[in-house]
Symmetry: C2
Subunit: 361 residues, 2 copies
């Protein structure tokens, strides 16, 4: 530190970081600093000029010099109109309409989306989060990854909260950080689906749920709840629980085992429509017809699954609506307005993948 202006600059910088001056607090005037450091006005101005460039302080002509909110100069200084969207998947299944919904609202206001998918992998989630934090995004819309497991990236979420970056979660929440969220009524809706199967005469139901994410765990709970409320012992049925990392073939094998039993279930409740279509395809290839031999329900009302034969009985997911609401909520957060979390009902969608077995012998 052989040069004077650097000495002044570093001294002031450290004092700001150490909290000697609070945010928006007025710094000593140039004259005072000249006295304190015993240097000319040039030297002071050079030092504080650089501090201003580096966003530690701001200056108001005639007013004085003040401490910047350096903790979150996100979007304060930069005009980066960038919103990060992190989801488990990006271009498959129900995610395109969700992302499209977000984009339709935000692009209207001049924001661009930067998207990342985690493929249900915490390492990739961390990578995406770090990427976006580097870019000083104006906000984050996140679908938690493996939301039923402990999240090793909570440190980053805490940081996001500390920096007060506008953040919205969908499909699941992290209780530890309490961001506004957009959720489906997974448990209630799955209970309705199972009750619907009950009403069609099905009482031995195979449930297949991905339980490393909150949605899957809740849906499984919904199925169990339906059994409890109906007073039917859950042991009459089968439950297959799997992780997103499990191989699909392993799951199909376990399904096969279940159906080798002559007294096999008459219906299957699947984690979601993607799994349901996979299961149906697998069963049909083995001569087990849906809904003749077994009824199947999914979840999410996946567009493609409605055009297939049979069309799926499922629970609705608001997809595009959820995306648009997320976009609107983000705009409010950015403007400092209060927002309220939304929970969407997931009403039953009746398709042709289920049939009544009541009148049968």
């Amino acid at each position: 530190m052989e040069v004077k202006y650097e000495l002044v600059k570093e001294t002031l910088r450290k004092e700001i970081l150490n909290g000697k001056y609070q945010i928006n607090e007025k710094l000593p005037t140039e004259s005072k600093l000249m006295e304190r450091f015993n240097v000319s006005r040039y030297t002071i101005r050079r030092a504080v000029g650089e501090l201003e460039n580096e966003h530690y302080i701001y200056r108001i002509q005639g007013g004085g010099m003040f401490v910047q909110d350096w903790q979150r100069n996100w979007s304060a200084d930069d005009t980066n109109k960038l919103i990060g969207v992190i989801s488990t998947h990006m271009a498959d299944y129900i995610f395109p309409p969700i992302i499209s919904g977000i984009d339709s609202i935000l692009s209207e206001k001049g924001y661009s989306l930067i998207v990342g998918n985690t493929l249900n992998n915490h390492t990739r989630e961390r990578q995406s989060l770090l990427n976006m934090l580097d870019l000083k995004i104006a906000g984050l819309i996140i679908e938690p990854t493996q939301s039923a497991l402990p999240n090793p990236n909570l440190d980053l979420y805490q940081q996001i909260k500390d920096y007060q970056i506008p953040t919205i979660l969908f499909h699941a929440t992290y209780p530890e950080v309490d961001f506004p969220s957009l959720l489906g009524e997974d448990e209630v809706a799955e209970r309705n689906l199972v009750n619907y199967l009950f009403s069609l005469g099905h009482h031995r139901i195979l449930g297949i749920f991905q339980i490393d994410d909150r949605q899957g765990a809740d849906r499984e709970q919904g199925m169990i709840r339906a059994y409890q409320e109906a007073g039917i012992p859950v042991t009459d049925s089968e439950l297959i629980m799997y992780q997103s990392t499990d191989n699909i073939n392993a799951i199909l094998q376990r399904v096969d085992q279940v159906f080798q039993n002559a007294n096999h279930p008459t219906a299957i409740a699947c984690y979601n429509d993607h799994l349901a279509t996979t299961i149906i395809g697998h069963l049909q290839r083995q001569g087990i017809k849906v809904p003749r031999d077994v009824s199947v329900v999914g979840f999410d009302n996946y567009e493609l699954a409605q055009t297939l034969e049979p069309s799926l009985t499922t629970a609705n997911h608001p997809k595009r609506q959820l995306g648009e609401d997320a976009g609107k909520m983000m705009l409010k957060l950015i403007n400092g307005e209060p927002v309220e979390s939304i929970t969407y009902p997931a009403p039953l969608v009746k398709g042709t993948s289920t049939r009544s077995i009541k009148e049968e012998p």
Copy 2:
């Protein structure tokens, strides 16, 4: 520009951008600039100081001031591992697998995608381009918007070329700027589709093409070419040409007019599968059955259209493969390796939306 240092700064900045000083060329000394602008050394130093901060010049003590390589400081200084993707649509139709393909390659290398859709609108295209140029993205993957019309944003494309930002186009090209591209054999494939219809005994075919984009114009050309090669006068058939801004109902009305004629066409060749499914739905609602009363072909092999009944006869689009190739090509461009444009064949995909009318009375 009431302040002197801004006048000096802007004058020098423009001279650098206009090429008055080449890269690494020495600028006049501070003394010379003092004489030229008739200002003090303070003013000159303040002006060039800001130019240095903004990376237009660099200074060497005792050596002089020199022009920075401002053209290539994209990605050179900033570590922004960001790739911009601009397409006409984002979350609909065949675009999800394309974008997913791009992402699968680039996210592997630590890049994030920033996406924008133009909705076939040059104003929105300009907005997206400006946004991304501001962010100093490392590369651009663009589907040209309304590619058969003159593009008012060519100035930006020229700028992208001048700045040597790695850029790839797909689905269409701008002959004026010559970026590497990923194209389909639209004309050849449409000719094959029409020839296939010929082979099934159809000779009066209604062609419906969106002709404000290159793909549509080429596909229309393919149909005309097929007629020419078969020696059949094109006047036997009908052509509906429309713009992306046209209302779909207007097009359906024109289709209705055509089919009010008793001697109406026996087949329809559609711009793409999206249009084809719309047309089929419209016809079926009026009791015109496909393929019983009329055969229909589309283009792009849209996944959803294959699951519908009837399944579409169409030409294949590589979708995910194209996305992955675009990603790989981008990595090569960033590494300064040479790349070659790719043209994909679009082989015929036979579905149940077409039938032979040869053996009929």
